[in-house]
Symmetry: C2
Subunit: 513 residues, 2 copies
């Protein structure tokens, strides 16, 4: 975990001979300790420093934080005081926001909170919000929504953990470029207009009170840097959390959120691409199934003996729909049991007389759950169009991975690890993803689900000093590759629109099933 941000110092008390001022005395000690010539101590912290130093006989815990070559003192508390020194990690998502309370001394996570991004009332997608921010007062309102939401969440976390917001000194925020702009009340206008320029790449360290965050008034907020308008701090946090940039062997990180974002690399170099892959891939890899929640099918298999689907729904509730990971399982099982062909088209099979197909709106649908077992009482079906859409999605995903790896001359099967970020990564069954040819045919143990890697990275920053340098390093090492939807890309895409692929030799493990 490395060295944490809390430094315990014992200063020599002042005397007539050694009469350096309180602030400068503490600075000198911290400079020595941190081997830095640059320590900032906020004026409001200086106002209470003399009292704190004298009350605790010049022995204090200092929360420090680093922003490139500049160190900032975020808080001071007496060595003999029992007040905790806390931090807040924030995953600032477009749809939902997750907060985590971290003990800065032990590095332990004390609690977690989550809430829907209140900006959803302006618009569910970030584009609507960016346009809204252009209106008179629009940016102020969007900023207020998210800051208020965060403050409520922080207060709630403190209440649950019996601590005070005053004991929170650091706040680490990872979000996409547009969301971090709204968080910082920076105009996002130019993010979506060619040549797509953010206001800032390295927001760095900002006094929390200047942002309206209800933590300690001298506390500071750190916002992860972005590489550009379409490659945000959330992904940088994810790379940090994965450890990708520390590894000798080349690995890949796949984050499927609102955009598909992919990072390839090792400790020497990082190559990234992100964003929707153009109109040819309408819907991209992102619109698979419904959002996970109670009653949503997340795992599906086919029982050869019973000749029917074995389904699992979240919370074991009566099923009401199917999410991305369920759909991938379903497609994989249908393919392996000959119920769809290599193009993804439904095939009736005499081996499975109990698996029903029905005609709806002139299109063939597969009955996954009959009406008598579903939550709604109606048959829960998947249409040919849903499978077609999945085919495009999985082909897009694979094509992106193939394009980025081939751009550096690496075969996908040479990758040491595939880190899969996001909720998607936790629920997805890698075997199924490989079977349908969405992900490369690597041993299952090479697939590493990361969960909320953005939150993970924000937590890591609060837990260790070293990670701060790693972030700068990651940010500066990334080569961003614009995904060019040219003929070559479209050829790869066409070849990937089969189960698992036109070139079956790429998927030896699927052949043997």
């Amino acid at each position: 975990m490395g060295v944490n941000w809390v430094q315990t110092v014992k200063l020599a008390p002042p005397s007539l001979e050694n009469n350096t001022a309180d602030t400068d005395r503490l600075k000198a000690e911290l400079k020595d300790r941190l081997h830095s010539d640059h320590i900032d101590i906020d004026i409001s912290l200086q106002r209470t420093l003399p009292e704190t130093l004298r009350r605790y006989d010049y022995g204090v815990h200092c929360v420090v934080f680093k922003d490139k070559n500049r160190w900032v003192l975020a808080g001071v508390s007496g060595v003999d005081s029992n007040d905790p020194m806390l931090g807040i990690a924030v995953d600032l998502g477009t749809t939902s926001v997750v907060t985590r309370l971290v003990d800065l001394v032990s590095g332990h996570v004390l609690g977690e909170g989550a809430f829907d991004n209140p900006q959803v009332i302006v618009g569910p997608d970030i584009l609507t919000r960016i346009h809204y921010a252009d209106r008179n007062g629009g940016l102020d309102y969007l900023n207020e929504l998210v800051i208020d939401g965060l403050n409520r969440s922080i207060n709630e976390l403190c209440r649950k953990n019996e601590c005070q917001t005053n004991h929170i000194y650091l706040c680490a925020v990872a979000g996409n470029t547009a969301m971090t702009h709204l968080f910082l009340k920076l105009p996002p206008r130019w993010i979506i207009r060619e040549p797509y320029i953010p206001v800032v790449n390295y927001p760095g360290v900002i006094c929390a009170r200047d942002l309206g965050l209800e933590i300690n008034p001298c506390g500071i907020s750190y916002v992860f840097p972005n590489v550009g308008s379409y490659f945000g701090g959330d992904l940088i946090a994810g790379i940090l959390f994965s450890g990708l940039a520390e590894k000798e062997d080349t690995a890949i990180l796949v984050d499927v959120g609102t955009n598909a974002e992919v990072v390839l690399g090792n400790r020497n170099w990082l190559m990234a691409c992100a964003g929707a892959a153009g109109p040819a891939l309408e819907g991209g890899v992102t619109k698979m199934g419904m959002k996970a929640g109670p009653g949503v099918i997340d795992r599906v298999s086919i029982s050869d003996e019973e000749g029917r689907f074995i389904i699992h729904s979240i919370g074991d509730q009566p099923p009401m729909g199917i999410c991305g990971s369920g759909l991938i399982d379903l497609a994989s099982e249908l393919f392996l049991h000959g119920l769809i062909d290599i193009r993804g088209k439904f095939q009736r099979s005499s081996r499975f007389p109990d698996i029903e197909f029905v005609e709806k709106d002139g299109m063939l649908h597969l009955v996954v759950v009959p009406g008598r077992e579903s939550a709604t009482g109606d048959d829960l079906t998947i249409g040919q169009a849903d499978i077609d859409s999945l085919v495009r999605s999985k082909a897009a995903m694979y094509t992106i991975l193939e394009t980025i790896t081939s751009s550096v001359g690496i075969g996908m099967r040479e990758l040491s690890d595939i880190f899969v970020a996001g909720t998607f990564g936790v629920f997805i069954n890698p075997t199924s993803a490989v079977t349908i040819g969405m992900m490369p045919d690597l041993p299952i143990e090479n697939y590493k689900p990361l969960g909320n890697s953005s939150l993970g990275g924000a937590t890591t920053i609060l837990q260790s000093m070293e990670s701060m340098d790693q972030v700068s390093d990651i940010r500066d090492k990334i080569t961003y590759m614009e995904l060019n939807v040219n003929q070559d890309f479209m050829n790869r895409f066409s070849a990937a629109k089969f189960f698992p692929h036109t070139d079956r030799s790429l998927f030896p493990s699927v052949l043997t099933k």
Copy 2:
């Protein structure tokens, strides 16, 4: 005058190939320009930066400011805009505050304002205020008084000069240690308690909005560093203004304000002492005569022909009192004309039958202005006690100068210059000061009155970048000498209590008069 703080930059406009964010683009240019790896741009400035850059086609004037190795961007304005870029220099005196509006591009002083320090309502002396600051809300109140006063003065200056407070980006403040603490709302409690520790020695650069200053919201305030509780930033500013620390030859700076402060040195070293010289010197060098103002006698001579005083009062008003410089002139003339002896005792002289002495309260008084010519109608007289007090004051002054020079083995007559700071320095007649033995017997042209050197230093900082490094250099070079009122000091003091001195060989020019 050196390079000023306004940098004009023309950035390459962003493109798909060169898509660095606006803030980082500007930072990169400034880093290059300023040869620094550390440029801070406040979040609130970042909020308007995209608009400013695009409106002026990426050509902007930037007000930068330096605090040791850290640079801060204080303001940005389009190259084609006609908005001025201004700074405010402040002499933050215990009794009065003087402000000066400076054009940051040309370095010209545009106007000046002055007001009585509003904290006087709490107490005229700093000690009372320091005690008052300890009360509940006391510090807040004292801080509010001075900040409000400054804001009124700034608004007034802007009104007179037809500019907006929004165009003021820098504010440079020089004051004694206690006053700068009250300005920064730092508790001054420990300044007056052994071992006399300020909250901060190097306040450096602070966001003006955090101090409540009504200048540009992104503007910054610079407060001169102090050496300790009794050697403030006002004197550091004075040293800067005098140029003492840049000179090859050793010179001395004398600032007689509430305390007598003396700095000796050259470009290689600086030695300072300050403060009242203990109870033996009650009243010190500071209580000579009344405050200069209309009707106050500031110059006196004796006409040999007419056998009477020739007096000059400020504004040529009927005389109502005498100030320090008038008193020194008077004593010098009395001594040269045999009307006081070498101990300062009144001597009636037949040469001057028209110069009258009267008995008042059992003590001999000299009539300087007869009642028929005075403002009050009463005789304006000076008592033996006033002269005795002057003798102690001038002896104290001389002893301090002798002590500090002899501590480094330099004779006073080896000094290249004597810089005399403060109002005192402007009005005093150096010939008279030498005659009474208050100042060493150097050629008159070596006496350099500086006027308000604290304000001068604060102005210099706004006019040139180089001066910032000079301030750090001055601050770090100063050796502070505690004035030790020991037997040696008392011996020197006793010897100096004669006109001009027991050792008349020290004052050859007086002997020839």
